[in-house]
């Protein structure tokens, strides 16, 4: 399964037309990653404001991505590495 499932014929977005759950769920990550064009982004946002089925799922995915980011972006310590980097700079400085 991919996130870019084809949009069924006849459901192209025009003006105030609303997205279905299926159409919203197909772009959950693109929405959360800020990768949709502003118009489509707004359509998904409006769908989520009304849809009790989709909102919890989007919220869950948001929490998951925030969590991965927070944990993954933490630094890691290595005293040995610091010593080796200083030695490398000593060599380079001459």
């Amino acid at each position: 399964m991919t996130t870019d499932a084809p949009v069924p014929p006849g459901s192209e977005m025009h003006g105030e037309q609303e997205l279905t759950c299926e159409e919203s769920l197909a772009v959950v990550y693109e929405y959360l990653d800020g990768e949709l064009d502003p118009e489509r982004h707004d359509m998904v946002r409006r769908h989520l404001e009304r849809c009790r089925n989709c909102y919890p799922y989007f919220n869950f995915e948001r929490l998951f991505l925030d969590y991965v980011h927070e944990v993954g972006a933490r630094g890691e310590r290595s005293q040995d590495l610091e010593d080796r980097v200083r030695a490398l700079l000593d060599e380079e400085t001459g």
Binding site: E35, F60, F64, V68, H69, A73, L81, V85, L89, E92
Partner: protein, 185 residues
């Protein structure tokens, strides 16, 4: 104008070396927890940065500058070895069906407050490299699909599907862990 060696060295230590932990963290995630490889990567990146220190614009974001150098250093190696055969594990992840188990078991994401970070780190590190690198660049480093696509040399559509599969795989791992620990049934 070339900055004389001593002040230049001091300046580099004060402004760049303070980011060593962040650089090593990124190097470890990119290399899947391989400590010797991550240490080599940090050293190579810092040496490049030190040699290019005169071109660093004072007052701009030094951490971001260093992270970019490290990322590019890694990507050069990654792209050089990319011609190697696709491993079996890669296919297995690619073929896995979508499993919403974690969401169904824990829709409010309470697990994320209880799980120990080492489990998540291990789950990221164990992803096949082609998936892991996409996750690290997009989810940890916050790069756009387009930027990940350019760095990895793959189409944007492939970035999307790799992120999708990798994220689902991470959720499966977390679900298995949560059941094992008795957090979820």
């Amino acid at each position: 104008m070339t900055i004389p060696a001593e002040p230049r060295r001091r300046e580099f230590e004060e402004e760049a070396l303070v980011h060593l932990d962040a650089l090593y963290g990124l190097a470890l995630r990119l290399s899947g927890g391989d400590e010797p490889r991550a240490e080599d990567l940090v050293q190579e990146a810092l040496l490049k940065a030190y040699r290019a220190w005169d071109s660093f614009e004072q007052g701009t974001n030094c951490r971001a500058w260093l992270m970019t150098i490290l990322r590019n250093t890694f990507i050069n190696q990654f792209r050089r070895q990319k011609s190697r055969p696709t491993d079996v594990e890669f296919e297995q992840v690619a073929e896995r069906p979508h499993s919403p188990a974690l969401f169904e078991a824990d829709p409010e994401g309470r697990l994320f407050e209880r799980i120990i970070d080492a489990e998540v780190i291990a789950a990221i590190d164990e992803l096949p490299e082609e998936f892991r690198v996409a996750v690290v660049l997009a989810d940890i480093e916050g790069l756009s699909y387009q930027e990940v696509s350019e760095l990895m040399g793959i189409p944007v559509g492939t970035v999307k599907s790799r992120l999708f599969r990798a994220r689902k795989r991470l959720q499966e791992r977390l679900y298995e862990y949560a059941v094992e620990m008795g957090f979820l049934k």
